[in-house]
């Protein structure tokens, strides 16, 4: 998957997909150990992106006042 220059532009779904892709790579026995650290670093960044997105969404949603159900 092409990497975005700035993670701020990466969508949540995109980030999760990339993260899952990396994890699938890491589970492969033929993983190039030299790239291992770099892939893990990228995956860690993506985890942060996803968590930040979720936290931001939680705050945003919390601020929305829902109408009464009646």
């Amino acid at each position: 998957m092409p990497r975005k220059n700035n993670d701020a532009e990466t969508g949540y779904e995109e980030a999760v997909s990339e993260l899952e892709e990396i994890l699938a790579e890491l589970s492969d026995d033929d993983i190039d150990v030299d790239h291992l650290a770099e892939r893990v670093k990228r995956a860690t960044e993506l985890v942060k992106v996803c968590r930040d997105r979720i936290a931001a969404a939680r705050l945003e949603v919390k601020d929305i006042e829902l109408p009464d159900e009646s």
Partner: protein, 373 residues
């Protein structure tokens, strides 16, 4: 002479058609009894004295018979010679009602059959009755009780009827023709939607005008629906039979017209109510859907985010299992040869070759002394 007649001809029954009738102020009634035998016309002057008349009153009332011109009667009495001119006459003392009624019934049947044959019997009932007949043409005797009852009932309904009156004779000579002309006249008017023919109660013979064939034809051929209210409780007249709607009394006739209007009002009100109910039900359903959606949104906005978080946590923990730094901290290491290739098998290791082992916090350089597989 009278003694002889009384002796020889007392209590004889004679029959014929009633011609001219004179009701005297004294209470006596004089009428002509006519027999028309192939153009040969015989007339008998009949005297119905007050006393006999009173004694017959109950019977005549019971059978709704009056001595009126045009009806057939079978009467009992005695011939006599009267006065200075010695005029020959007949003193009536009884009447056979079955004869008159039978004749009326037979005449009626003939007329009804002719109307049916000519396709007129149901003709008026096929005319168009407006949903809201408000412009009523009334055929009656102006100022009669029937007229008053009819108008009062219409007024009490509170509906804005517009009434056009045709004042007619409703009994006696010329009554049928007068009513027929009035109906034909009203039918041609643009401001009349329905014609009401009304009159108060009367004897069967009194109401003979409404069994008249020409009048019945006028009603049948009338282009507007004709409602009748001809006051008689028991039988219907031929006019009633061919009318769009027949009613026992003028009041009942007015009620039938009011009912027609009220039926429409009720239908409109019911339809409006039904429509309102449909709208209210639809709105209530829409409101429920929105409320359900709000409820779902309330739940989902947290569950969706919680599920997303759980998914990321799982991926993060999976990632940790693959992080070489973490593994190295636990004691795992990676060994490269001099060319930087990772040693994955002892077959790659050769005695005396220098290798580098990477640990969590640095590297160790060593030389292979021996390999064991």
């Amino acid at each position: 002479m009278n003694d002889l007649l009384a002796r020889e001809f007392s209590d004889v029954w004679v029959y014929g058609e009633v011609g001219k009738v004179t009701n005297a102020a004294s209470g006596h009634c004089y009428f002509d009894l006519i027999e028309d035998d192939d153009g040969e016309r015989s007339v008998l002057a009949v005297k119905l004295f007050r006393g006999v008349r009173q004694s017959l009153a109950t019977k005549m009332k019971q059978h709704q018979i009056d001595i009126v011109s045009g009806i057939k009667v079978r009467i009992r009495g005695t011939p006599d010679v009267f006065g200075k001119s010695s005029s020959f006459g007949f003193k009536m003392n009884d009447l056979d009602p079955r004869f008159t009624l039978g004749d009326l019934a037979a005449k009626r049947e003939d007329i009804v059959n002719r109307l049916k044959k000519d396709g007129l019997y149901d003709r008026n009932r096929r005319t168009h009755l407006p949903l809201v007949p408000l412009r009523i043409g009334v055929v009656t005797s102006k100022g009669s009780a029937a007229h008053a009852d009819f108008m009062k009932t219409l007024e009490q309904s509170g509906i804005g009827f517009q009434v056009s009156l045709c004042d007619v004779r409703v009994q006696g000579d010329g009554a049928a023709a007068s009513v027929a002309v009035a109906i034909t006249h009203l039918a041609m008017r643009d401001d009349v939607e329905l014609i009401a023919v009304i009159r108060g109660g009367g004897s069967k013979t009194d109401l003979a005008a409404f069994d008249d064939e020409a009048l019945a034809r006028a009603v049948a051929l009338c282009t507007k629906p004709v409602f009748t209210g001809i006051g008689h409780e028991v039988d219907t007249s031929i006019v009633d039979e061919v009318a769009y709607s027949w009613n026992k009394t003028p009041t009942a006739c007015a009620i039938a017209i009011i009912d027609r209007v009220n039926d429409f009002v009720l239908r409109v009100e019911t339809a409006a109510q039904r429509m309102a109910n449909v709208v209210l039900t639809a709105l209530a359903a829409a409101e429920r859907r929105v409320a359900d959606a709000v409820g779902q949104l309330r739940t989902l906005r947290t569950t969706v985010l919680n599920e997303a978080k759980a998914r990321i946590d799982l991926l993060a923990s999976d990632l940790k299992g693959h992080d070489p730094v973490v593994l190295m901290r636990r004691g795992w290491s990676i060994t490269h040869d001099a060319d930087g290739r990772v040693l994955k098998s002892v077959k790659q290791a050769k005695k005396g070759v220098e290798i580098t082992t990477r640990l969590a916090d640095g590297t160790i350089g060593s030389t292979i002394r021996e390999t064991v597989s």
